[in-house]
Symmetry: C2
Subunit: 207 residues, 2 copies
């Protein structure tokens, strides 16, 4: 039940293996887009992809593995934040982008599925960790740039600001289950900036 092929003597990343992975991942994304995580089942992916059920269980170990790999398959690797404005504008742009990504018919359900799967699967938790480490890493340039420009205090922890910005959005989306309006985004940006400028996120010994 822990899964992921037992790292056999040899690995064959060759043609067929790559084809089945692509087919399975595409089908997973399709099912997620159409019906959501609750309806996602291995057999359904097997049917649609033309890959046999047992193959999926062997290579991916279960639904959680499918979701994790589908996210890795769908993620955009070369994304960078827009730095053309001041901090506020750049953060607002990023917040809008993040919210829009959840509305995307493919990426939205997929990201949601990973968050949901993390409640039951350690592998999904790892995937979530990697995801946010990546997100925080990329977006931190918005903050470091702002520090250079004197818009924010020196020693401001970039990750803390981004987290303060994203937390209310994720909270409404996945916890309290309220709708997220543009006003909410503005409020989140203003709140994060106000706290940052007040020095709340200055590095003391935060890791």
């Amino acid at each position: 039940m822990s899964g992921e092929a037992e790292n056999p003597g040899e690995i064959r990343p060759g043609g067929r293996t790559a084809r089945t992975r692509e087919s399975v991942c595409r089908s997973t994304l399709q099912v997620l887009a159409e019906s959501g995580y609750a309806e996602l089942t291995v057999e359904r992916v097997a049917e649609r992809s033309g890959v046999h059920k047992s193959t999926i269980y062997r290579r991916w170990g279960g639904i959680d593995g499918l979701v994790v790999d589908a996210l890795a398959f769908a993620v955009d690797d070369d994304w960078e934040p827009d730095l053309s404005g001041n901090v506020e504008a750049n953060l607002m742009e990023f917040a809008r982008m993040a919210l829009a990504s959840f509305a995307d018919p493919v990426y939205g359900p997929t990201h949601t599925a990973v968050v949901a799967a993390a409640f039951q699967s350690d592998r999904a938790v790892d995937a979530v960790h990697r995801f946010f480490a990546d997100r925080f890493g990329r977006t931190s340039t918005i903050i470091t740039r702002a520090i250079e420009n004197g818009e924010l205090p020196k020693n401001t922890d970039p990750e803390a600001v981004i987290r303060a910005l994203m937390a209310p959005i994720y909270f409404r989306l996945f916890i309290s289950r309220q709708s997220v309006t543009d006003v909410d985004l503005e409020q989140a940006v203003q709140a994060a900036l106000a706290a940052a400028m007040a020095g709340v996120f200055e590095n003391q010994e935060r890791r």
Copy 2:
């Protein structure tokens, strides 16, 4: 599959019905405390409670119904926030209390289960709505008191402040899956207060 007894002509809240509900809810809480939401299954609750499987399916409709009712069964109805200090102290006290509740061996897993169930069940979503409406309602007195004392701007939206305080905590617990330290709590309190004092949460037309 939608569940909840079809509202028959008559309802009997009498002795036996109440007993079975108590037994089932207690068993649900026990299983959640011991094994968590991932291991929670109707049959296991049926075994432990001595109530038959079919009865549970009929009255509760499924696992989501069990979780929702168990939360309602376990919730402390007469809780009120501590108002003995200034805003900062009161908020910090509340934040500590909230975090501690997640560490509680019974209440923690139960609340987590409801949040998890909300990813798949509309009934769980309703329960989450009710829960936060209640939480926001009770804790808003901390903010209104602070406004009266001149610690926060007039027209500050209490719910917005509480949400700004709670969001980072929930985010770390359930989304990014990072540990929550006392330093994080302080940072959350400071950030929410800084934003509130800067007027970010002043009522314009926020519902």
